[in-house]
């Protein structure tokens, strides 16, 4: 996989080193410090930082503006973009806008349904779906063409990512779905939070059987649990999430004030185990509103210091 963009994330992955990414959710307000403060906490321990796009359909500061804040700090953002809120005009326009600030990574998503968020009564757009969004960015970058066929003068240099959820149903479609995203042109994948490691490894087996691990960089997604309550909630309430009962039990088995630490330990153990899975090229550590724990996780998992890349 030769390097096609100035993305630092792409360079690290291409060099064969394990990449580490994390994410920050923008604030529900306009204070830029909410984002820069979070970024400060993790910047030395990750290669790139995803900025979520109105995650769970709750209205927040836009991902693009927050990504620009990271750029101003000299950091490497991953612009998350959902197809829920934008038609193809807005999508292409935002991509160009991001590229104009030298934002070089994008994560193409369809987005949670708006009924989960604060605008339940609103419309959704879904002019494109996530796979078509991948195709669109690749076309803009590689062919220097808009969807409408016109030429783009200075095409956006985006390293193109997408999500994969090995745990959603139907399971047998989960490898073919990755294949489809690869065929559409995706270059890196950040997975849904992994708690059921056996099932993830089974999915990776299917991925390797088809040689897909050689065509895309897979970053295993991890979110440390803060408590047994959180684990139970994720298990029962969050669609597409697979939290094994043993994990809930393990957290519930330690005193309340120690559950958070247990959650961190579990997360680190998971990374240790997944490091040896052929085809896993890095980790996406999503410590939701718990960014201060990312350094500990990265260090104890043996992923620190982060590589430096010549520009």
């Amino acid at each position: 996989m030769s390097v096609k963009t100035p993305s630092k994330l792409e360079k690290i992955l291409a060099s064969g080193q394990l990449a580490v990414t994390s994410e920050c959710g923008p604030p529900r307000g306009s204070d830029p410090e909410d984002i820069t403060r979070k970024a400060e906490l993790i910047k030395n321990h990750v290669d790139a930082i995803n900025i979520t796009d109105n995650q769970t359909s709750v209205t927040r500061m836009c991902s693009l503006a927050a990504c620009i804040r990271l750029k101003l700090m000299g950091l490497e953002p991953v612009l998350q973009m959902v197809t829920r809120d934008r038609n193809r005009i807005a999508i292409q326009s935002d991509i160009l806008g991001a590229a104009s600030f030298d934002i070089n990574n994008m994560l193409c998503l369809s987005g949670d349904h708006q009924s989960f968020g604060d605008c339940k009564l609103g419309q959704n757009v879904h002019d494109l779906d996530s796979i078509q969004l991948i195709q669109t960015v690749r076309m803009m970058r590689d062919e220097a063409k808009f969807l409408g066929g016109d030429d783009i003068k200075c095409p956006p240099k985006m390293f193109v990512g997408a999500a994969a959820n090995p745990f959603a149903d139907p399971f047998e479609i989960r490898v073919p779905r990755l294949a489809k995203k690869i065929a559409a042109g995706v270059e890196f994948i950040q997975t849904q939070c992994i708690y059921n490691l056996d099932k993830f490894e089974k999915w990776m087996e299917g991925v390797r059987e088809r040689g897909l691990h050689e065509k895309v960089h897979i970053l295993a997604g991890l979110t440390p649990m803060k408590s047994a309550g959180m684990a139970r909630y994720m298990k029962n309430r969050v669609p597409g999430m697979d939290v094994p009962e043993e994990l809930v039990k393990r957290l519930a088995g330690v005193p309340k004030e120690k559950q958070a630490q247990e959650g961190i330990d579990i997360c680190i153990e998971s990374i240790q185990r997944l490091k040896s899975v052929d085809g896993v090229h890095g980790f996406h550590v999503m410590a939701i509103e718990w960014e201060e724990k990312v350094p500990e996780i990265v260090e104890r998992a043996g992923l620190y210091p982060r590589p430096t890349i010549d520009k």
């Binding site: 369809s110 987005g111 349904h113 078509q132 139907p170 479609i173 073919p176 294949a179 489809k180 597409g240």
Partner: protein, 222 residues
């Protein structure tokens, strides 16, 4: 067929209470199937409105009537007299019928008695579910005969999304995930290869997006 749901009586009442000769006008085809806007239902709504008028002490004459279809000229003839009598009409047709009626009687206030809900099927008696959003370019041939536009909450053309759980959609445990249904059908037809064919960016110009649509057949016009 077109499925509609009757509006709350209070809402209908608020629309008509300032008129003196009200006709509740049924449409006996699509919406009658789900027993919401047929001529029989128009009769019931009229009698409920009469009771309401009596309760409120208002002197409103309320009659009922109806035709086979309010979306075709030829059926209206039989109702000319009652439509000319009324100073307001509550049409219990779908939105199409309501508009068609309004177009015919320029100065007559016409109110909707139903909320037009969707294009659907009778799953069983009393259960109606959406099947089509009239996108104008049918893709059912690619998706195992199940519509990802009308039946996937995110109208994903290359789904399923990551929220599909045990066959159900992420937005509601009682709602089938369209993509689970598509995959089940593809499997049953031994056509799973179809799944990996990417459905390209859709041309929505034949959909609502392209503006109001029109279909003209020169060959059969008289």
């Amino acid at each position: 067929m077109i499925v509609g749901q009757q509006k709350p009586l209070e809402e209908i009442w608020d629309m008509i209470k300032d008129h003196s000769r009200v006709l509740v006008f049924g449409c006996n085809t699509c919406v009658a199937v789900c027993q919401q806007g047929g001529n029989k239902e128009a009769e019931i709504i009229a009698s409920l409105l009469r009771m309401k008028a009596t309760q409120e002490g208002l002197d409103i004459e309320i009659k009922d009537g109806g035709i086979e279809r309010q979306c075709e000229h030829e059926f209206f003839e039989s109702a000319t007299k009652s439509l000319e009598w009324a100073d307001a009409v509550v049409s219990t047709a779908c939105g199409i019928g309501v508009q068609f009626l309004a177009e015919k009687y320029e100065s007559l206030p016409v109110y909707p008695g139903l909320n037009t809900t969707f294009l659907g099927a009778v799953e069983k008696f009393g259960v109606y579910t959406e099947r089509c959003q009239a996108c104008g370019q049918c893709v059912l041939g690619l998706t195992g005969g199940i519509c990802p536009i009308a039946r996937c909450a995110k109208r994903l053309m290359n789904g399923p999304c990551g929220g599909s759980t045990r066959g159900k959609c992420e937005i509601n445990k009682d709602l089938d995930c369209a993509w689970q249904l598509i995959i089940d059908r593809l499997k049953a037809m031994d056509k799973m290869d179809n799944y990996e064919k990417i459905i390209p960016v859709k041309d929505w110009s034949s959909d609502r997006a392209g503006g109001p649509r029109k279909f003209v057949r020169e060959d059969i016009q008289v």
